[in-house]
Amino acid sequence: MAFLGQEEQIRELQDRFKFLYAAMFLGLGILLGRMVHLQLLQGDRMRMFSEENRIKRVKVAAPRGMIFDRNRRLLIDNRPAFDLEIIPQYLRESKKTEAVIAKLSKIIKMPEKEIQEILDKSKSQASFLPVKIKNDLTRDEVAQVEVWKIDMPGVQIQEEIKRTNLFGDVAAHLLGYIGEVNTVELPRLNKKALKYKLGDSIGKFGLEQQLEDILRGIDGERLVEVDAMGRIKLTRTKNRLVDPTLERASVPGKNLVLTIDQDLQLEAAKAFGDKSGSLVAIDPRSGEILAMISRPSFDPTEFSRGIPPQLWQSLLNNENRPLGDKTIQDHYPPGSTFKIVTAIAGLEEKVIDENTKFNCPGVIWMGNRAYHCHKKNGHGNVNVVDAITLSCDVFFYRVAQKLKSVDDIAKWAFHLGLGKKTGIQLARETAGLIPTEEWKKKRFNQVWNGGESLSVAIGQSFVLTTGLQLANLYASIANGGILYRPFLVKEIESYEGQILQHFKPESIDRHQLSPRTYELIKQGLWGVINRPNGTAAAQRLPGMDFAGKTGTVQVMRIAADKIYQKCQNMKYKDRHHGMFAGFAPVKDPVIAVSVIGEHVCSGSGGAAPIGRAVIKKYLEKYYPDLYGEKVLAARIKAEGKERGLPAKIKQVEEEGVTVNADSTVRTEPVPAPPAPPHPDAVMPQESENSEGDDE
């Protein structure tokens, strides 16, 4: 139905078709050119971009080395733990945020408000990134969440391998804990060969910190395919185009086998109960540390997983300082346990010999000051062995008077390993303090006062030792003069259990004492426990030759009229510290122990029983043919006849009468107590104004 004249018009329009074609070819030609540009010229680059888009490097965390006790009992393990996470985007998309949070709140027993607050805080990060809501769900909670998962979009369970101390708080200070590397540590760490990134774990305390380089593994890297949301795609694994040679397997950290015996640790913890203090047990034949605990303690597992602030606060505020390490970080006046040093000084300086006897009338005067013995009526005539057994203060005052100066005591104290660090493989060890005339001059710009030497002779005044030093001192007496460097790690083994390194005992020094001196000291120490009038006769272990020395250290300076006040009636913080150091058996000793009991009132009642329990446990466990039940019973019977000792040992007179000469008469200004030796220490520590006293 053409209109009139259309033929012409159509012909005219047909002429324009060539422009139409030109335009068409131009349009499609530009498209083709762009294809050539993008796909052929830029193709490699674009392919690379697309690979970077979809392939993500994922860290494969290397398992940290495990830690075993000397009998390969597992102490620290890597265990799976379950955390609850929410992906805010999915939650929001579900449009039932409130219902989900309400439901979740019931399951994980966490207030709705708290969950909402955590989510609010996470708003600065991309909403498809998971937000951690709660750590360490219980099995029940995990099961519940899994059951209700469909009703709770965005809620997911994340399994993570976490550092776990299997024995909780038993050896927190020794084993330590790990934590995330922080920005302060990072620059210092990355000077080392092994690089750390934010979020990596690192040992923060104890052996975990000291042996970081051994325990830490090398993280691997896996390439995974992710979608635009960053979600890992598992469904396409069979079509994976990822080049496996670009992946790197993780290398696990090395395991540690410690010298520690976990049975002794548990025994010691049990013996301490809720008391505060520390215990160190050493094998005197090698310097291996058999037990080392500080009470009260904390659970390192909680630290490794990010400690809740309330718990941290309660640990900080606890008056018994659970965060402080009372074995090496805190030092105390050793009290009477120091008397063997004075005895050695006297014997070796030849101001006394084994036959020297001093009369103890209960008090001696020096200048216008009275120096009391803990026994008000005195011990009468005592020789050095009796003096140790009875802990006669006057005898050691006299020894100090006979010595040229306090430096003669200090010389032997240093020689025996006091006043300096033992060099154990733990951070924050304190050197303790052995005062000399020069030291006092330097420290206080004061001349040494002769009376102070008397206090030093009984382990007071300025004398400070750590629990570890005491244990090592008694170990060196026990083994006849070899001062070993105490050590904790026996072996380093590969992840598969192959031994890579075995640590041998290292002797720091050999005492230059006459053999007779050891005999006399040992006799005295044996008497403390095994003679009826010994200060710790109640702690005797029948059939086990066990020797040691008790000490009681006054915490507060006490007015003269309160000297004889019952310790138990004082305020807790004012009560005396109890000390004990000893070893067993007397002949060829296999264990040396030191115990510090804070505010336990006395060494014999508060500290010695703890040492005794550990020694007993050790002998029974490792020498059943010598100390097994039947053997022991037979020996007790034989010994009883041989020595004619009374079957029941009479409890020695209560030694609670504590005398401190300083507290009665003062004629000169009291020097300030030593400053805390570690101002830079991370862990809080208490510097007590400790005044010594004795039994």
Binding site: L13, L38, G43, D44, M46, R47, S50, D227
Partner: protein, 386 residues
């Protein structure tokens, strides 16, 4: 008969003929070329859609729905080819136009919104976009308008006022939905038809200057913030690679990473891992080019070229002005869809929502395209009836 386009072909012979269109019996005399190319393109489209909708998201498995739309489209095509003469469209042209315009207005009152735009009208489970059909209705209207018009020396502004109103009203309605892409297609088709019909030189200059000055003003005052953002990110996608530039960058990466031979069917990581937005609709071409690479893309381009040139031949051979303008208009729709969509996917043009014919998922667009092919085929066949 000649089968190839050469410059030596005599004027009275059909140029650019790509198929043998004469035969003894009636059916074999029918020109099936357009339908054949359409089938081929749809086949590519559905294979590609299977890949695009294998992605684990809301588009999963949607290719089945597309097949159903295709079935509907085939029925409508058959009706168009066998039961009508296209000149019937000339008679009802304005009726169709106004009915469609009414539907466009209705969208604002009973329409359903999706992705922030109100474009759909629903009849029970079926819903469609009147704006898609408006393209055809507009072309029919324009063809009707210019059928009787005798101007040969070029149109002036006054002469173009009415047809401009014919296009402007639906274009504004569609822009208000908002659907900038479709509105733009209307204008482009109108513009190219006018150029073909010749515009007076002075008028053309006036228009050019007006547009050049109006564009910045339009950008400043008429565009919505998200539309401005698209323009910015088109000029420099890296200005905000995670935000407004993201789609453009990811799409270019998808196309480019296909390289020469592609990553393989369903193996395009950009699409399968959801890096591409709207990968089953507007960005379908990036899925195709990632899977099949340059070779696939060039082949697709050739198929479109076949399709377009065959259509142009139909227009050339039509015996009346209405048929010629109608077929040309339809071809312009196809042409601009192809150029704008591919140009956008490959980062040559800003991002506007324009589907790629036969490849993008979407019922209204597919059926519109099939109706267009139906009309073209009708025009191709009916010329022998005179």
């Amino acid at each position: 008969m000649s089968t190839h386009s050469t410059m030596e072909t005599p004027q009275d012979q059909p140029r650019f003929s790509l198929s043998n269109s004469t035969g003894d019996d009636e059916l074999s005399r029918y020109n099936w070329t357009m339908i054949s190319i359409e089938l081929f393109l749809f086949f590519i489209g559905i294979v590609n859609l299977v890949s695009a909708t294998a992605v684990e998201d809301k588009s999963q498995g949607l290719f089945k729905t597309q097949l159903a739309y295709f079935g509907v489209g085939l029925v409508l095509t058959a009706i168009l080819i066998f039961l009508f003469h296209y000149s019937f469209l000339s008679r009802v042209a304005y009726l169709i136009y106004f009915l469609n315009l009414l539907l466009l207005v209705a969208v604002f009152f009973v329409g359903k919104s999706s992705l922030g735009a109100q474009r759909w009208i629903g009849f029970g489970p079926v819903r469609f976009q009147p704006s898609e059909f408006m393209k055809l209705s507009m072309v029919i209207g324009l063809a009707k308008f210019f059928e009787t018009d005798r101007t040969t020396s070029g149109y002036t502004l006054r002469e173009m006022a009415l047809p401009a109103l014919l296009v402007g009203v639906p274009a504004l309605l569609i822009m208000a939905q908002p659907d900038l892409g479709t509105a733009m297609i209307l204008l482009l088709v109108f513009g190219s038809m006018m150029l073909f019909l010749k515009i007076e030189t002075r008028t053309l200059l006036i228009i050019a200057v007006t547009v050049a000055t109006a564009l910045p003003l339009a950008y400043r005052f008429a565009l919505k913030p998200y539309q401005k953002q698209r323009v910015i990110s088109f000029i420099n996608p890296m200005a905000d690679p995670r935000g407004s530039g993201y789609n453009s960058i990811q799409s270019m990466i998808a196309v480019g990473s296909g390289q020469l031979t592609g990553k393989g069917w369903k193996k395009g990581t950009q699409s399968q891992l959801n890096f591409l937005p709207e990968h089953h609709t507007d960005f379908i071409f990036s899925v195709f080019s990632e899977d099949w690479g340059f070779l696939g893309c060039a082949a697709l381009l050739i198929a479109y070229l076949f399709f377009l040139s065959n259509g142009v031949q139909i227009a050339y051979q039509s015996h009346d002005k209405f048929g010629m303008l109608l077929s040309l208009g339809i071809l312009m729709i196809f042409f601009w869809h192809i150029v704008v969509n591919m140009g956008m996917v490959m980062g040559l043009l800003p991002i506007v929502g324009v589907p790629l014919p036969f490849l993008s998922y979407g019922g209204s667009a597919l059926i519109t395209a099939m109706l267009g092919v139906g009309i073209l085929t009708n025009i191709a066949n009916k010329k022998f009836m005179f």
